[in-house]
Subunit: 321 residues, 2 copies
């Protein structure tokens, strides 16, 4: 049980969230690689959220959100639309706290994701695959059930939850010069910015984006929200636009945003699979690719990277390598 | 520097090897999975040697062998024939101790393996791909250079090195009822048998083999060495016959050998990749498949599994799933 969170999370908010989540989320390992260090000249620490429950950091945000519901809200359950990691995160977090969950998924979402989400106890509501259909269906579900909507990123309780990944990293590894994380909707990067600001002000936060979906970089340059022209990237976790609440934090706190190509991302993913023997999803490979591409910037530095998750369709993704 | 080892390693031999290797080999993590535990009813501990240097436990045997060379032998270097993990293990262990290495590899070995072995400083000598050509070429190299041959398994120093994987596991996890490991040439399983016998006599060692190369099981039943009829398995690390010195240990010390089909092995490999987010090679999946297949046997028990390595050709292996 945590107090409601309707503004940018404060230091105390993050401390309370961290403490409430410990024991509930997996304290994921920090992985190092001598080969990666000698390739880059940096000392690199990968925070392996691919080993998190549901295989992605998103579980943290799900827990933080559900912990903030009132008893009244808990009775009516939670709702979200997602065809990815957020669906499973909300479903499992809800089940673990005895709360019902309703997940709106496009009809054509992979069967394996529907099954996994249903396996975590969610009620799946199918809809057409347009974003409009998903939003309309979700609104309908909320109206009918009284469930609380859990937005995947544009939502302070979720931002506070995602912040705990880098809080754990900084707890274990001191004096980081940089933390790198990918930018999709911005839940993770905005949480990371706040965590660094409050708990390690010398640590610079750098976002990483595939060029195909570089709206956060464009928004940062312009000083206002710009939308992606297309969502044509293999990094399925990043096929969205940065949220308003997220951008509000990011524009003030972020040090820089680096861009990588699809090929740089996929090469970095392959390198991590082959050399480090861990499965990371394309989104997670984006900051690794940025580290390799801009290695001079990180030479001699201590660099943390949030490895966001490891949920992939093996055959499909390997065919793209 | 360790004393020579010409007989079945004693408790003291293993203790000396363990102590000499610590700091030289990676102390690999022990990984657990609530999902795997609830699937099997066991408490399972995976010793993740896929995170070992060169990506496989074989590095332990390489170090143990080279540490036992006299100064005279060191001057002339070491030699081995291998197209797999043993090649890289010997090459890197040799380089790290300032010793030359000569590796005989079949002409048609994957370029990536030749490059990796050469990258570790070995001199590669190519030959035809028959076992006869490999042995003749190796004998020729040894005659010309005076190098010491390091056999991948039928060699006591290597057996002592491989034993350190389960010694580390038992150091970290107490009271194991079982340790499971795959059987190829038998270096690992014979070392595991000795480690359990000396340091945790209540722990039963179980070998696991694909049915296609089940010569160790057949040999155990018959009480004498039987050879494989074919080597038709996707578990490239197990495409060989158990060695004499290995069988001598195994026949007295092993509790049982379990068989799994190619499909059971590949399904288990896929499960570990997808659910645990670590890359393991087909050989490593053999004991995992045995655990899943014979789960009743392990119900309520504490089970260690040696995950032997993670070196795979991604596209090739994923196309077989």
């Amino acid at each position: 049980m945590l107090p409601p969170l309707n503004n940018i999370p404060t230091k105390t908010d993050l401390e309370e969230t961290f403490s409430a989540l410990s024991g509930m989320v997996t304290k994921t390992p920090v992985i190092t690689s001598m080969t990666l260090d000698s390739l880059t000249g940096a000392k690199v620490f990968l925070k392996a959220e691919n080993f998190q429950k549901v295989g992605a950091f998103k579980y943290r945000g799900g827990c933080s959100a559900i912990l903030r519901l009132t008893d009244e809200q808990k009775k009516n359950g939670v709702a979200a639309h997602s065809s990815g990691n957020h669906a499973q995160a909300v479903a499992l977090a809800a089940r673990n706290m005895g709360v019902k969950s309703y997940i709106v998924m496009p009809k054509d979402a992979p069967l394996v994701k529907k099954d996994a989400t249903r396996g975590y106890g969610a009620k799946i509501i199918e809809c057409e695959s347009t974003i409009e259909a998903r939003e309309t269906t979700l609104a309908e579900v909320v109206r009918k059930t009284g469930a609380t909507e859990i937005h995947p990123y544009n939502y302070y309780p979720v931002i506070a939850g995602q912040a705990t990944a880098s809080m754990e990293l900084m707890d274990e590894v001191s004096d980081l010069d940089f933390i790198l994380a990918p930018i999709g909707g911005g839940g993770l990067i905005s949480g990371t910015c706040l965590a660094a600001k409050y708990f390690s002000p010398k640590t610079k936060v750098i976002g990483a984006e595939p060029t195909e979906v570089n709206e956060a970089l464009l928004s940062l340059k312009k000083g206002e929200l710009v939308k992606n022209k297309s969502l044509n990237t293999l990094a399925d976790g990043l096929r969205t636009n940065i949220g308003e609440k997220n951008f509000e934090i990011v524009k003030n706190e972020i040090h820089d945003i680096l861009e990588v190509s699809e090929k740089e991302m996929m090469d970095a993913m392959k390198w991590v699979w082959e050399r480090m023997k861990i499965i990371i999803e394309p989104s997670s490979a984006v900051p690794v690719a940025a580290l390799l591409k801009y290695d001079k910037m990180f030479n001699g530095k201590r660099v943390g990277i949030i490895i966001t998750g490891g949920n992939v369709e093996l055959k499909e993704i390997v065919s793209k390598l």
